[in-house]
C-alpha cells in the first residue's frame, strides 16, 4: 500500500483516546504485514516485533500513538440533545457547526450546534462559546436518544481526508496517524535493509490523556534506545517561528535536555549522509510527547524524538506533507540500521 493510501486508511479509523479497543485489531492487521510478530497488550498498545539479523541484537523501541482527541457524552437532555466534554485537548473554538459520529449502540451521525449570532447577548459577544453551552444534535427525541446513546459513549469528529496541492493532506487525526504511517513506512524500509537490532514498533494508546501507553511500552520492553514519532506544529502566519516548522522541508529532529545528545548528533549526521531533508526542533522542556516518558523511565532510556510538521493541530483540518512522512520513515529506518557505521566513521564534528 502506498503512503498516501496508507495515511487515508489510518485516518479513517476511529480510536478516541481511552477507547482504542475496537481499533487495535485494524492497527494490528496493518503492522503484521511488516513484522515477525504482533501482539496487543491489556491496554491495547499494538506491539510489532521485527527481529534483527545481527549477533547480540539490542532492542530499539519506536513508538507512535494511535489515539486521537474526541469528545465524550456526559448527559442526554429532555429534548434528545447530547451534552459532552472533551477527551484529550480539544479547543472549544473548533467545535461550532462540526459533523461528528457518536459511538453509541451503533454509530450515529450528529452535528454540534451553534447559537445564531442574533441570540448572543451583547455582554457575551466577545467571549468564546464554552463547551458546556454546546450540544450534539443527533436528530432524535429524548426517548430514542436514550435507547441509542448512554453517558460515557465517545464521539469522534467526522472529516474525510482531503488531498491538497503539493503532496499535502488535510484531515482529522494527522496527529498522530501521520506518525503511525511513518512507523509503517519505516518497517517497510527496514525490510529492505539489513539491521542488527530488534525493532519494537509500537502503536501506543492514550498519549492524549497523559502519555499512558508509553509508560507500559518502556516498562515491558526495556529497550536500549527509544525513538518517539509524533507531530510538531507546522508553520502558520502568527505562530512563533521557533515553535513551528514549514511543511515539506523534512523531518524535525528534536534537540534538548531530555533527548540523548549523542544519538541526536549521530542522527543528524546520518540525515546529511543519506540526504534526507531535516529540520532542527529545539525543545527546552520535556517536549510534551512520549519522549518525556522514555527519557526517565526505568534507569533512563536514551531517547530520540522525530516529528512531522502538522498545521492547525488539534482541529479537524490538520495538514501534513507526505514528503515529511516519508523523510521521517527513512531517517528512522536508516538510523536504526546504520548507526553503528557512523560510530566507526568517527566524529569529525562534535557539535550538532
Amino acid at each position: 500500500m502506498e503512503c498516501r493510501e496508507l495515511l487515508m486508511k489510518l485516518c479513517d479509523i476511529n480510536a478516541v483516546t481511552g477507547r482504542e479497543d475496537t481499533a487495535a485489531r485494524v492497527i494490528s492487521g496493518i503492522l503484521s504485514e511488516y513484522c515477525d510478530e504482533v501482539s496487543v497488550d491489556k491496554f491495547y498498545n499494538v506491539i510489532g516485533l521485527k527481529r534483527g539479523h545481527g549477533e547480540n541484537p539490542r532492542n530499539v523501541l519506536v513508538t507512535a500513538h494511535y489515539d486521537q482527541i474526541g469528545l465524550i457524552v456526559t448527559g442526554i437532555d429532555e429534548n434528545g440533545f447530547l451534552r459532552f466534554t472533551s477527551m484529550g485537548g480539544v479547543d472549544p473554538k473548533v467545535l461550532a457547526a462540526q459533523e461528528v459520529t457518536v459511538h453509541g449502540k451503533k454509530d450515529l451521525f450528529g452535528v454540534i450546534g451553534s447559537k445564531p449570532p442574533h441570540l448572543i447577548p451583547p455582554e457575551d459577544a466577545d467571549k468564546p462559546v464554552k463547551m458546556e453551552d454546546m450540544l450534539i444534535d443527533i436528530g432524535y427525541d429524548a426517548q430514542k436518544a436514550r435507547e441509542l446513546v448512554s453517558v460515557g459513549d465517545v464521539v469522534s469528529f467526522r472529516f474525510p481526508v482531503l488531498e491538497l496541492k503539493n503532496n499535502r493532506m488535510a484531515g482529522r487525526s494527522m496527529d498522530n496517524r501521520s506518525s503511525v504511517a511513518a512507523l509503517v513506512e519505516m518497517l517497510k524500509e527496514l525490510g529492505r535493509i539489513r539491521h542488527r537490532d530488534n525493532v519494537y514498533a509500537v502503536a501506543t494508546v492514550q498519549e492524549e490523556s497523559g502519555l499512558v501507553g508509553a509508560f507500559m511500552a518502556a516498562w515491558n520492553l526495556k529497550p536500549d534506545l527509544a525513538i518517539a514519532i509524533d507531530v510538531c506544529h507546522g508553520d502558520m502566519p502568527d505562530a512563533p517561528s521557533d515553535e513551528s516548522f514549514p511543511l515539506g522541508k523534512g523531518v524535525a529532529i528534536a534537540v534538548g535536555p531530555i533527548l540523548s545528545r549523542e544519538h541526536t548528533r549521530e542522527c543528524i549526521k546520518l540525515a546529511r549522509r543519506e540526504r534526507i531533508p531535516y529540520q532542527i526542533d529545539a525543545e527546552e522542556k520535556d517536549t510534551g510527547t512520549e519522549a518525556a516518558v522514555y527519557s526517565s523511565a526505568l534507569e533512563g532510556i536514551p531517547t530520540l524524538l522525530l516529528s512531522i510538521p502538522a498545521k492547525y493541530m488539534h482541529t479537524t483540518v490538520e495538514v501534513v506533507s507526505l514528503d515529511d512522512i516519508e523523510a521521517t520513515a527513512r531517517l528512522a529506518a536508516r538510523y536504526i540500521a546504520f548507526r553503528d557505521e557512523l560510530e566507526q566513521e568517527g566524529d569529525s564534528d562534535d557539535r550538532t
Binding site: 451534552r83 477527551m87 458546556e132 499512558v212 509508560f215 515491558n220
Partner: protein, 326 residues
Amino acid sequence: MFDTISRLVNVFGPSGRENRVAEAITQMIRDKVDEVRTDAMGNLIAVKKGSGRKIMLAAHMDEIGLIVTTIDEKGFLRFGTVGGVVPLVALGQRVVFENDLTGVVWYEENMENMKDAKPDKMYIDIGARSREHAKELVETGDMAVFEGRPVERNGLVVSKALDDRIGCAVLVELARKCPETSNEIYYVFTTQEEVGLRGARTAAYAIRPDMAIAVDVTGTGDTPKSVARAVSLGEGPAIKVKDNSVIAHPAIREKLVECARENGIPYQLEVVDKGGTDAGSIHITAGGIPSGGVSIPTRFIHSTSETVDLKDAENAVRLLEAFVRL
C-alpha cells in the same frame, strides 16, 4: 453502615498523618482477613489470600486539612492548605488539631472583595493570648482538620470527610462480609491521595495486582445550577468511565456494569472533567494495571457537610462483592 462511617470520619487523619485512621480500620477488620501490614508511606494493606487473580481495592484514608505555617505575635496561626481546600468554604469553620484543640478560621476583615479570600489573607484563632501561649498548644507544621459531626436524616448522611472515609467504610463492610472467591483481594487503605494520589502508587508497585478499583466519592448534578453531571444522590453507585486522572479500562467498566445488571443493583455512569482518584496513579504503575472506579455520589465535596445516601454506599458494597467473585 452508619456506625462504621461515624467512627471513621471522627478520626483525625489529614494527608501524611493517617496513622490513627489505619489503627481504627485495623481494629475493624483484623480478624476478617489473612494479613494486615503497612508500608513506608503508611498505606494499610489487608490481604485475603487466594489462588486466583490479584484484585486491589483502594480507598484513601486521608482527608483535607490545614497546616500551620507561622504563629504570629498575638497567637494567631497562619496556614497553608493540605489538599483541595476551598478558601471560601473554610471561612468561619471550626478546625481541630490532633490534640483536640479547637480553632476558628477567619479572614482579614479589610479585604475588599470576598473573591480575594485566599489562605494568605486568612488565619486560625485558637484563643491564645500570645505567641508564647500559642506555642504551648501547637507548633508550626501541625495539621488541623475540619469539624463536622456526622448526622443521619432520611437515609442521608451529612458529615465532614466522607471523602473518602465513606470509601474506607465500603471496603471495611466488604471485608467483614468475607466474600467467597478464590481470587486474592487486597483491601488497600491508601495515604496522601488528596495531595497527588501518592500512596496508591507505591502500594500498587509492591502488590502488582492484575486489576484495581478505586472507591472514592464523585460529585452530583442534582443541586440548583450545579455543573451538569449525570450522577445523582440515591440512584446507585457510579461506575467510572473517566475522570481527570484516568480513563477507566473498558473491560473493568463493562464488567462492573454486568455485575450490577445481573444482580439487580442500581448504578450510574461517571464522566467528570475535574477531579482525580487513586486509579490515576495505579494504572500507569509498573507495566500498567487495568483500573476502574466505583464512586459514591456525594454533594458538597470538600466541605464540612458532604452528603451521601446510605443506600448508594450499601449498593457499592454489593457491587464490589459481585465483582471480586469473577
